[in-house]
């Protein structure tokens, strides 16, 4: 069951996993990503029966193009915010960088992956995960790199005249190839097989992990889900930084509604993406 959704009255302490800034960024990515896919994909699959239908629903190519650019601005905003945050984190030494509990991939991730595969085939215990599991790191960095590539190539094509003042025109061909392929990769693969399944589709969080909307999960879920981080914090004596009193019932209800709405939204998007992935395979 989803973390925190059924926090009972007895639960009075929660683990604070995501700050308001990170939750806000997730919403930015979520909204802009689906907006971009919805408005961009009919151009890629122009011969399919639903391309024209989708374009007409959005009010024509011009309207879809406008929406795509609006969503691109939101997406770029996410990238700038996240990049600035990371820069500030490093410069101001907000926390450890090369550590088990940081977002930077390390040796433990490789070991965890091997451990998970052992567990998949019934040959060992589930590895003790730290703050970010290897699939979460993959998710984060793939999205970060993807946003840079897709956003960069998109901007090149948005302002072709400015681009060709510096680069030759053939760079726009390259940009188009990158934009189209990388967008399809991000849509079809990361957001179905990696993010949607690993982050929200696993039985412990199905149908959606509320923690990314609410920011917290019950302490007992935390200890079973991220035992390594719990151990590390226990040893370092920093547990008090992340353990907080549970939010009010009203706030909990609010987050439950937000999560439910996002879940419906995500399931529609996932079905649509499955269609996208299957389309070139079937037709």
């Amino acid at each position: 069951m989803a973390h925190g959704t059924d926090a009972k009255d007895g639960v009075n302490l929660v683990y604070h996993r995501f700050s308001a800034f990170h939750r806000f960024n997730h919403v930015l990515v979520m909204v802009s990503f689906f907006g971009l896919v919805l408005t961009g994909v009919p151009l890629k699959f122009k011969d399919s029966i639903w391309a024209q239908l989708l374009m007409d629903l959005m009010g024509g190519v011009a309207a879809a193009g406008f929406l795509h650019r609006v969503m691109a601005v939101v997406n770029i905003l996410y990238f700038i915010l996240e990049f600035s945050y990371m820069a500030w984190y490093v410069v101001a030494r907000k926390g450890p960088i090369f550590h088990e509990d940081s977002i930077v991939p390390g040796k433990k991730d490789w070991a965890d992956m091997k451990g998970m595969f052992r567990w998949f085939f019934g040959k060992g215990q589930k590895p003790k995960l730290s703050r970010f599991a290897y699939w979460e790191k993959f998710d984060f960095w793939a999205l970060f790199a993807g946003t840079f590539l897709i956003g960069g190539s998109g901007l090149m094509m948005w302002f072709p005249e400015a681009t060709t003042r510096i680069l030759p025109g053939v760079s726009l061909n390259v940009a188009l190839v990158i934009h189209s392929n990388e967008a399809f990769l991000a849509t079809g693969v990361i957001f179905i097989f990696v993010h949607f399944f690993s982050a929200h589709g696993r039985p412990e969080s199905f149908p959606a992990d509320e923690v990314i909307f609410s920011g917290y999960l019950p302490v007992e879920h935390y200890i079973s889900d991220r035992p390594q981080e719990y151990e590390n914090r226990l040893k370092a004596g920093t547990l008090h930084e992340v353990i907080r009193p549970a939010p009010s019932a009203r706030r909990r209800r609010l987050f439950r509604w937000v999560t439910a709405t996002a879940t419906v939204f995500a399931f529609l998007a996932a079905s649509y993406t499955v269609l996208l992935v299957l389309w070139p395979v079937l037709f």
């Binding site: 391309a51 024509g60 390259v174």
Partner: protein, 342 residues
């Protein structure tokens, strides 16, 4: 009283019948007038009587040719709708005399020359543009080269206001005019974002003649001033570098610059690798989770599996297979049970 009525009734009935007849006449007359009114414009324009013969769908040139008899039929309904619908036949078919079919040797040449001259008479500017085009160069070298009617057609030229064309119309023109000879280019252009957008209904997107010109038929090579001019119609800031964007690329960018091909190859490979690895990883993870869930729900499902197993054993027994052959099945089930406990 009844008689009086009948007496009075009789002439009245007669009058009724008469008026009914008259009404019928009037209706028939009106219908005839209406028919005439509808048919009149077509009829009026055929003052020369050409459609007496050419209005017959079965009217053909009987001269034996390779492709069978050539139709000489003109669809008057389409013609009347066309932009030239007001003109008489001889306005374009200049110098037509009934003897022409006898000049069999030169008829095609005469016809094409007359056709060009006919268009030039009213459209001198378009003709001047055409004179400089590669189409004209081709035509003056070889009779087979395209002339006005090769692209525009003859009797069905539509009435269009320049700049107000719909996306469908532009696509139709590109397909039926340019695409008829430049098939390969037209097919490749379908994968290009200009035509993609046009195909999905964006009428401002460029099609063949928006860049190559309606009559000039510019070749448009990268880096040339006329190419820059062509791009600047929509992209005012375009410079020479802008024109090095590669158009009309084959599927999978086979004829593109090697850099484009390399990037395409890299990202396509990446796409396939990540897709395959992603699906495989998810499947492996999912089977584990499914086994856990089935283990938790063991009670009901276990009984179901037990029932299936009993059926299987029954079928094995009936076919007389020995027991040790199906022993490898057994650990799987017990293994699943252990997962549930874990």
């Amino acid at each position: 009283m009844g008689r009086r009525c009948a007496e009075r009734g009789h002439p009245r009935a007669g009058l009724g019948r008469l008026s009914r007849l008259r009404r019928l006449e009037a209706v028939l007359g009106l219908a005839l007038l209406l028919c005439l009114a509808v048919a009149w414009p077509a009829a009026a324009r055929d003052v020369e009587g050409c459609l007496i013969c050419h209005g017959d769908p079965d009217f053909v040139d009987t001269t034996p040719t390779e492709g069978g008899p050539k139709s000489l039929y003109v669809d008057s309904a389409t013609f009347v709708e066309s932009v030239h619908g007001e003109l008489a036949c001889s306005a374009c078919h200049k110098g037509f005399v009934l003897t022409i079919p006898q000049h069999q040797v030169d008829v095609e040449k005469d016809f094409r020359q007359v056709a060009i001259e006919a268009c030039e008479a009213c459209h001198p500017d378009a003709f001047m543009s055409y004179q400089t085009s590669s189409h004209a160069k081709f035509y003056y070298q070889d009779e087979a080269g395209p002339i006005c009617i090769s692209c525009h057609g003859s009797h069905a030229i539509k009435r269009v206001r320049l700049g107000e064309e719909t996306a469908e119309f532009k696509m139709e023109m590109a397909r039926d005019s340019c695409g008829r000879c430049h098939e390969d280019y037209f097919d490749r252009a379908r994968d290009e974002f200009h035509i993609k957008a046009l195909n999905l209904g964006y009428e401002r997107a460029a099609t063949c003649f928006d860049c190559h010109g309606y009559h000039e038929n510019l070749a448009l090579h990268s880096g040339e001033p006329e190419t820059v001019e062509a791009c600047r119609q929509c992209h005012p800031g375009a410079n020479a570098g802008f024109t090095y964007f590669q158009m009309h690329l084959e599927p999978h960018f086979l004829n593109a610059w090697w850099g484009v091909r390399a990037v395409y190859l890299f990202f396509s490979t990446l796409l396939i690798v990540v897709l395959v690895v992603g699906i495989a990883y998810t499947t492996v993870h999912l089977q584990k989770e499914t086994r856990i869930i089935l283990g938790v729900m063991g009670g009901g499902l276990g009984r179901l599996f037990g029932f299936i197993r009993a059926l299987e054993e029954e079928s094995y027994r009936s076919t007389g297979e020995s027991d040790h052959e199906r022993e490898p099945d057994k650990p799987t089930r017990s293994g699943a049970d252990e997962e549930g406990g874990a």
